[in-house]
Subunit: 129 residues, 2 copies
DNA sequence: CCTTGACCTTCCAGTGAGTGGAAGGCCTAT
DNA sequence: ATAGGCCTTCCACTCACTGGAAGGTCAAGG
């Protein structure tokens, strides 16, 4: 299967798949003409990667998860730990963003948004401490 | 004021301040020895930038906000629009992350996390559709 | 057989917002 | 005079792609 079809199957841009090959996540064989030839197992891996990335796992995590996936004697605790650490990072990020959101909401609410210059948003950003 | 003191005042790494000069956000004058000499107005700007960045505004937004801040005849509606668009982006991002979090939470909860290989997390990532 | 257009290849550069580090100049205190 | 702590510039690296240029390959239609 050529890269275009592989991309369609896995739901990833062809460019991304080439990149994943570059960094060693997939190793499709090559046809005589130099075209990448994706086996079903490659497609399966790419789909795995697409899903893991969609859950926000870093490429590093994906690499580890893929290795565990391929290791039939893995311990689920290893998988769980990766997921749990990732979950913690996401929760931190959500909390940070929620703080920003709350502040911004207040500022936007209090800003008249007309043609006058007075603006609590700029006031907040620029006021001397 | 030298860059070290400016950094301490503004709460930004010196490296970041140099970067901000590179991209034209601040333009401190130079002493005879080549050292940057930050005026109070520069410190004020840097503080503004630090706060805007802490609220998650992009450098592009910061540039625009800074220009509005310095323009005494600005319309607050312009400021408000920037903030509101940023707020919308943040809310989208929070929603995306919350989706990931929910999925991950379920998966982590359902994973035994012992030394056996069975794992709903890998199952979810690798199962044929 | 030739062309057209859709594929495919590699390689290079850029994104955002810095961060790390090397090599070297300057300033103050001892 | 020298030590150390500043400061300078410049280059490379981060992350996960993404865009584009230049060129090779393949199948279909004329």
């Amino acid at each position: 299967m050529n890269i275009g079809d592989a991309a369609a199957q896995a739901g990833l841009p062809a460019k991304t798949i080439r990149y994943y090959e570059d960094i060693g996540l997939v190793k499709p064989r090559r046809d005589a003409n130099g075209y990448r030839a994706f086996a079903q197992s490659d497609i399966h891996k790419l789909t795995f990667l697409a899903r893991a990335r969609a859950l926000g796992f870093s490429i590093g995590d994906c690499r580890d998860l893929l290795a565990l996936w391929e290791d039939s004697s893995r311990a689920s605790s290893d998988v769980r730990q990766i997921a749990q650490e990732h979950l913690a990072r996401i929760e931190t990020k959500i909390a940070d963003l929620a703080d920003m959101r709350d502040t911004l909401k207040t500022l936007v609410r209090d800003c008249s948004g007309d043609d006058r210059p007075d603006c609590p948003i700029l006031k907040r950003l620029g006021d001397p401490t």
